[in-house]
Amino acid sequence: MMNSVFSNKTAITIFVLPTLLIFCGIVLVPIFVSSYYSLLDWNGVGKGTFVGLNNYVEMFNDPRVLNSIKNSLLFAAASIFIQLPLSLLLALILASNVKGEGFYRTVYFIPVLISTVVIAQLWSKIYNADYGLLNSLLESIGLSHLAQDWLGQKHTALVASFIPTLWQYVGYHMLLMYAGAKSISNDIIEAAKIDGASRIRTVFSITLPLMRPILKVCLIFSVIGAFKVFDLIYVLTNGGPFFTTEVPSTLMYTTIFDTYRYGYGSAISVFIILECLVFTVIINKYFKTE
């Protein structure tokens, strides 16, 4: 009786089929369709011409594409070397039974929940050359010579567009790492203390090694997040000035919906997927948890 209930074919079909149809139709099949589009020269009207790998060849010779890839790599590097260490520091402090632990955790996490569109608008007001918060703060502390048009200038735009991301996601990585640090059994930490290990020593020899799985997740998230970044750049600068903040996803978007090069745009989107996959595999390999 048990078996007949739990292997009821009709019920399984009713439970699984709708999900599978919508999932395959909307998530899986389009990847293959995109890969097919990427082999076409097509403006979306009528049938495209099959051009094989031409789009990919063009991509790797296109300075605009290479520049956008370089920018997303810089984003990834900044996330890894600035955002993650800061998150880790905050997580370790909060996990060490500091006063106000819950309060800080809650406050640091707030920006994570806000729509990136809102964040981009908010920061474009902060950066505004004439009435922005940043410039008036600089003036009020006597550094008015530093005030400038942060998003409008080539040499400051990329850094200025990274800072909102840092601000938004520091709390997210902090929370993940905090959860990782908290899940370490107190007995192990106590044992290290009894053995005479200093606090710093305990962190490096016990806490961090035991946090490897969660550190790996954070690393993957921040790298993939950098490759996928779209909303923020699209709203904040739309790739400008002079392509200094352009990333692959915004370039893909303009290529498809502004210049109607559907095949070429699809090639860029396929590149983004492959880039994410390759880096995930590499990180997983070099960060084996067992």
Binding site: F6, L94, V98, S115, L176, I256
Partner: protein, 285 residues
Amino acid sequence: MQVVLQKKRNFTKYIGKILLQGFLIIVAITQIYPLIWLTFFSLKDNSEIFSGDVAGLPQKFLWSNYTKALSDGHVLTYFFNSVLVTAVSIILVLILSSMTGYAITRMKWKLSGLTMTTILLGMMVPIHAALLPLFMVLKNLGLLNTYWALIIPYVAFGIPMAVFILGSFFNGIPRELEEAAVIDGCGIYKTFFFIVLPLVRPALSTVAIFTFLSCWNELMFAVTFINKASYQTLTVGMMSMVGTYITQWGIIGAGLMITTIPTIVIYLLLNKQVQKSMIAGAVKG
């Protein structure tokens, strides 16, 4: 001697604690001040924003910015659209993924493992990959500029994570409960809907929160599949509003606040659950 040393050590410890708290407070201010500033300028008029005191409290609280944003700026329409799209997406994700998660983890059939692997694969796929093909399909079906143009993709992309989270909760339910229900004469549907589902309520709310955040804040699909103002959600609507009121920061600020407030309220009410759901979304690695 001993006492002096002890005293000195206590003193350093005390200073250390103060420095640590100072650091944490500075970070807290950095995280929260931009939002407070947003609140301030959403209540100011242009002359006050563009005159000397950019950072401070408004002299007079200009609530009319909010009424202007809601009516003239169409924020009420955008808000309604966002609520509708998000709510329907959450309900569909919950129904579909709980049924599927249950069938995969607790029922016996040959292809369950393969189905799970396929669905989990979806967690790796960036939405960029599907953008153009979906656009073409929706265009050909005449679904652009409808609510379905957003709901269907949001549900599809919400499913992998939801199945993953719910599946791991179903796995944690003791078999005996289900078996007892069957012995008492429940069929599979009754067992699932009346015995099992109520047991995973925390997982359902985790999934609901997760889906809420991703749908409420989504931009790329929303900006591509919808261009009629009457169907735009808050994220896209906000962009067209910024275009209209480009120099009227107060009204823009009010619009941004209206977009943000629901999320903040939910967060402050369900703080622990929200943090848990964000962690649950990550520990799949």
